[in-house]
C-alpha cells in the first residue's frame, strides 16, 4: 500500500489509504479463512457421506499389533496414542544419532581436505564425491541388504570376547544395570558436568585477568570420568553387567541394536556427512588466507591457528548450512519405511493408517511432528548462529 499518500487528508472514509489497506487485509483474511473452512468442512462432509470414520478417538483404542523396537514399554494392547509416541521417539533417536555421527564425519572429512597428506586429502574428496552423488534410498538398501543382511545367523554370530555379538539380527551388547545406590553415581555425573562448566568460567575469567592459561580439557576430562568413578567406588560399585545370551531362537538380555537402526543411521550419517564435509570445506575456504598469515606472524601454534582463528570465522558460513543439512536428515529418516525401521512414518503413516483408515488425521499429525522437529532444530541452530556471528564493536 502506498504510504506516501497517507498524509493526504481525505474527505471519504473509503478514500483513506490506511482504511483501504485495512479493509483489503480483512477481506483477504476472510477469504483465506473461508477457503480453508470450505476445504475442511467439504472433506468432513464427503467422508461422512462415504461412511469413512473421522476424529481422533482412535488414539485411545488398542492398536493390536507389535512394534520391532520401542524406547517405552509397548505391546499389542497399547493404544494408537502410544504407537504414535513409540514412532516419535524412534524418529528422534535415529535423528539424534544420525546428526551426531554426520557432524563428526563431516567435520573430520571437511578438515581432511586441507591436509598436506596426499592420501588423506584424496580420501576426503573420494568420500564426498561417492556418497553425495548416490541416491540416499540406494545407500539405505546397500547398508541393509548388501552389508548387514550378509552377516552370519544368530547361531554363528561373530563374537568379541563372548560379550559382544554381531549377527544378521543385530548388534548385541552387554547392559550395565544399576542396583540400589546407583542413582548417586548418576547424580555425580550431573555434578561433574556442572563442575566443568564452573571451572571453564573461572578459567576464562582468570585468563582475562592474568593472561595465564589453564588446562581446561585435561582437568575437565578428569572431573567427568574421575568423579563418577570415585562415587561408584565409595558406594561399593552398585552395578552388574547383563550379558546377551543365546536362548532358543535369539539372543536375550543385554542391549540389542537392530540392524534396521544400524543401516539407517549409517546411511543417513554417511550421506549427510558428505554434505557437511562440503559445508566445512566452504567455511574454511571462506576465511581469507591473510588471517592465517597474520596469526602466524603473531607466533601462534598451527593447532591454535585452526581452533582460535580459522574455525570461529568459518563457523559463520558453516552453521546456516548445517541447519539445512540437519533438517534434511530428519526428513530423510522417513526412508526407514523402506527397510522396516519402526520410525514415526513407518508405524503411524504406515501400519496405523492402514489399520484405522484415518488418513487425514494421521497424516496431519505426522506432518505436524516433522514440522515441529525441524522448527526446533532451526531455532537451536539460529541461536547457535547468533552466538558464532561476528561480534561488532558497540
Amino acid at each position: 500500500m502506498s504510504a506516501e499518500h497517507a498524509t493526504a487528508k481525505s474527505a471519504s472514509f473509503f478514500n483513506n489509504p490506511r482504511n483501504r489497506a485495512l479493509i483489503y487485509q480483512a477481506l483477504l483474511l476472510f477469504g483465506l479463512g473461508f477457503f480453508f473452512y470450505s476445504i475442511v468442512s467439504n472433506a468432513l462432509a464427503n467422508m461422512e457421506a462415504r461412511g469413512i470414520k473421522s476424529g481422533f478417538g482412535f488414539l485411545f483404542t488398542a492398536s493390536g499389533f507389535d512394534i520391532l523396537m520401542s524406547l517405552v514399554p509397548y505391546d499389542a494392547t497399547s493404544t494408537y496414542g502410544r504407537t504414535f509416541l513409540v514412532g516419535l521417539l524412534n524418529t528422534i533417536l535415529v535423528s539424534i544419532i544420525g546428526i551426531i555421527l554426520a557432524t563428526l564425519l563431516g567435520f573430520v572429512m571437511g578438515v581432511a581436505y586441507f591436509s598436506n597428506n596426499w592420501l588423506v586429502k584424496r580420501l576426503s574428496v573420494v568420500y564426498v564425491e561417492i556418497f553425495r552423488n548416490i541416491p540416499l534410498l540406494l545407500q539405505v538398501f546397500f547398508w541393509y541388504f548388501a552389508v548387514l543382511a550378509a552377516l552370519p545367523s544368530a547361531r554363528e554370530s561373530m563374537a568379541i570376547g563372548e560379550v559382544i555379538f554381531l549377527n544378521v539380527r543385530g548388534l548385541f551388547l552387554p547392559d550395565l544395570i544399576g542396583e540400589s545406590g546407583s542413582s548417586i553415581v548418576y547424580a555425580s555425573i550431573g555434578v561433574a558436568v556442572v563442575a566443568i562448566y564452573m571451572m571453564r568460567r573461572w578459567a576464562k575469567k582468570r585468563q582475562d585477568d592474568t593472561g595465564e592459561q589453564f588446562p581446561i580439557l585435561w582437568v575437565g576430562l578428569g572431573i567427568f570420568f574421575g568423579l563418577p568413578l570415585l562415587t561408584a567406588l565409595v558406594t561399593g560399585l552398585p552395578f552388574y553387567w547383563e550379558f546377551p545370551e543365546l536362548k532358543g531362537f535369539n539372543f536375550r538380555g543385554g542391549i540389542t541394536v537392530i540392524p534396521e537402526l544400524m543401516a539407517l543411521t549409517i546411511a543417513l550419517a554417511v550421506y549427510t556427512g558428505a554434505f557437511i564435509a562440503e559445508a566445512v570445506r566452504a567455511g574454511v575456504q571462506s576465511v581469507p588466507h591473510g588471517q592465517t598469515e597474520a596469526a602466524r606472524s603473531l607466533g601462534l601454534k598451527e593447532s591454535r591457528i585452526m581452533s582460535l582463528i580459522i574455525v570461529p570465522q568459518a563457523m559463520r558460513v558453516i552453521v546456516p548450512l548445517l541447519n539445512s543439512e540437519y533438517q534434511s536428515l530428519v526428513k530423510n529418516s522417513t526412508l526407514a519405511t523402506a527397510i522396516g525401521y519402526p520410525d514415526l512414518f513407518t508405524v503411524f503413516v504406515g501400519t496405523s493408517l492402514n489399520q484405522t483408515g484415518q488418513a487425514i488425521e494421521i497424516v496431519f499429525m505426522t506432518m505436524a511432528v516433522y514440522f515441529a522437529i525441524n522448527m526446533t532444530i532451526s531455532f537451536g541452530m539460529n541461536r547457535f548462529n547468533s552466538a558464532v556471528a561476528l561480534v561488532e564493536r558497540k
Binding site: G31, F35, N42, K53, T77, P259, I339, G340, T351, Q355
Partner: protein, 337 residues
C-alpha cells in the same frame, strides 16, 4: 481485488463439488476400461509376466468385471498397490475396484467407506519356517522373530496368537511381500507369517523352496474378496454379480469350452445366466450377454482356480474350502434368477 475474488471463486468451486462420486459405471464406460487395484506381485493371485500381461485369481475378477461391463476382458488398467496404499487408492477414486487378496473384516467394512463384494478365496494365516530349525508346530515358536507385511490383518492376528498362547516374539515389519521374503531368506527372522496361499507363493519364490516348510497351524479366518467404494450401489451390484457369475457358472457346469453350446441348448438356469432367457443383464444395467462374456473370456471359477493357483499352476493348492458347497467346500453363489 482480483486476487481476492479468484480465491473466493476457488473456495466456492471447492464447496460446490461435493458428492460427485456415484456413477462409476458411466465413468468406466466413458473411459473404456476398468481401473483395477492389484498387488505388486503375488504368484497365483496377481502377477505380471515378462510381456507385462497380468494374470491370477484376483486379476480374473478384474477381467470378469471388464468383460461384463465392456464386453472385453482385456480392457483393464491394472494399478499395482502395496497393502498400505490399497484403501486410499480406492477411497480417492483412483481405482474402480480393488481385487488384491484383501481380507474382509468388520473394521474395514464399517469404517473405511468401502463395501466387500463377496469372497473369491477363503484363506487363513499360517507360518513358514526354515527346515533347519526343526520346528514342527507354531506353538514351538516362543521367542522367534517373525517377518510380516505392514498394514495387514496378519500383523493383528500374529499379536493375538502369541498373546493367547503366552509366547513372546519380535515383529519385523516390511512394506512389501518381496521384502518379507528377502528378510526371511537373509535370516533376519525365523518365521514368515502370512495368508497360507501367499506362503505357498512366497515359498516357490525362495532360492531353495525345499529348505522351508509351511507349518500345519492356521490361526485365523481370511476371507479374501474384491472391494468397491460405498455409496455406488449399481457398481457394487455389478462387481458382486460378476464375481458370483464365475462361481455360479462352475456350479451350473458352464465353462469356456461349452459356453456357446449352453447358451442355446442349455437348461433354463444356464440360459438365464448366459442371457438367452430372462433379463439378468438388464437389471444390472449391462447387456444381456454380460455373463456369457465373462465365461467365454475368463472361464468359470474352477478354471480360473486351477489355471492360477491349482494343479495347473506351480502353486498346486488344493480346492479345500474353495470348492463348491456341494463338493465339500463353502463356495456358494446366490442364484441368478
Amino acid at each position: 481485488m482480483f486476487k481476492f475474488s479468484s480465491i473466493l471463486a476457488a473456495g466456492l468451486a471447492v464447496g460446490v463439488s461435493v458428492g460427485a462420486q456415484a456413477g462409476t459405471l458411466e465413468d468406466v464406460k466413458k473411459r473404456g476400461s476398468v481401473s483395477c487395484g492389484v498387488s505388486t506381485g503375488l504368484a497365483g493371485f496377481s502377477q505380471k509376466d515378462e510381456k507385462g500381461a497380468w494374470s491370477g485369481l484376483d486379476v480374473d475378477v478384474c477381467k470378469a468385471v471388464a468383460a461384463a461391463v465392456l464386453g472385453d476382458s482385456s480392457k483393464v488398467q491394472y494399478k499395482p498397490l502395496t497393502a498400505k496404499e490399497r484403501f486410499t487408492a480406492l477411497q480417492s477414486g483412483e481405482i474402480d475396484l480393488l481385487s488384491r487378496n484383501t481380507t474382509w473384516t468388520h473394521t474395514r467394512d464399517t469404517s473405511l467407506g468401502l463395501n466387500f463384494a463377496g469372497v473369491n478365496y477363503y484363506d487363513g494365516q499360517g507360518f513358514m519356517v526354515s527346515n533347519k530349525l526343526g520346528v514342527k508346530s507354531a506353538l514351538e515358536l516362543d521367542g522367534a522373530a517373525a517377518c510380516i507385511q505392514a498394514g495387514t490383518t496378519t500383523e493383528l492376528n500374529l499379536a493375538d496368537y502369541f498373546r493367547a498362547n503366552g509366547m513372546k516374539y519380535t515383529a519385523v515389519t516390511f512394506d512389501t511381500s518381496d521384502q518379507t521374503r528377502s528378510g526371511f531368506e537373509s535370516g533376519r527372522c525365523d518365521v514368515l507369517t502370512s495368508d497360507q496361499s501367499q506362503l505357498y507363493a512366497i515359498r516357490i519364490g525362495l532360492k531353495d523352496p525345499d529348505a522351508a516348510v509351511v507349518l500345519p497351524e492356521v490361526i485365523s479366518k481370511e476371507p479374501l474378496g474384491p472391494v468397491v467404494r460405498q455409496g455406488d450401489d449399481a457398481w457394487f451390484n455389478i462387481v458382486k454379480w460378476s464375481m458370483s457369475a464365475l462361481i455360479e457358472a462352475e456350479f451350473l457346469g458352464v465353462d469356456s469350452a461349452n459356453v456357446d453350446k449352453m447358451k442355446d441348448e442349455g437348461k433354463p438356469g444356464q440360459k438365464r445366466l448366459l442371457g438367452t432367457e430372462g433379463d439378468a443383464g438388464e437389471k444390472l444395467g449391462l447387456s444381456a450377454d454380460w455373463a456369457y462374456n465373462i465365461v467365454k473370456q475368463v472361464g468359470n471359477y474352477g478354471e480360473s482356480f486351477e489355471r492360477n493357483v491349482g494343479m495347473d499352476s506351480p502353486l498346486k493348492i488344493a480346492r479345500g474350502l474353495n470348492a463348491q458347497w456341494n463338493q465339500g467346500g463353502i463356495l456358494y453363489s446366490p442364484p441368478v434368477r
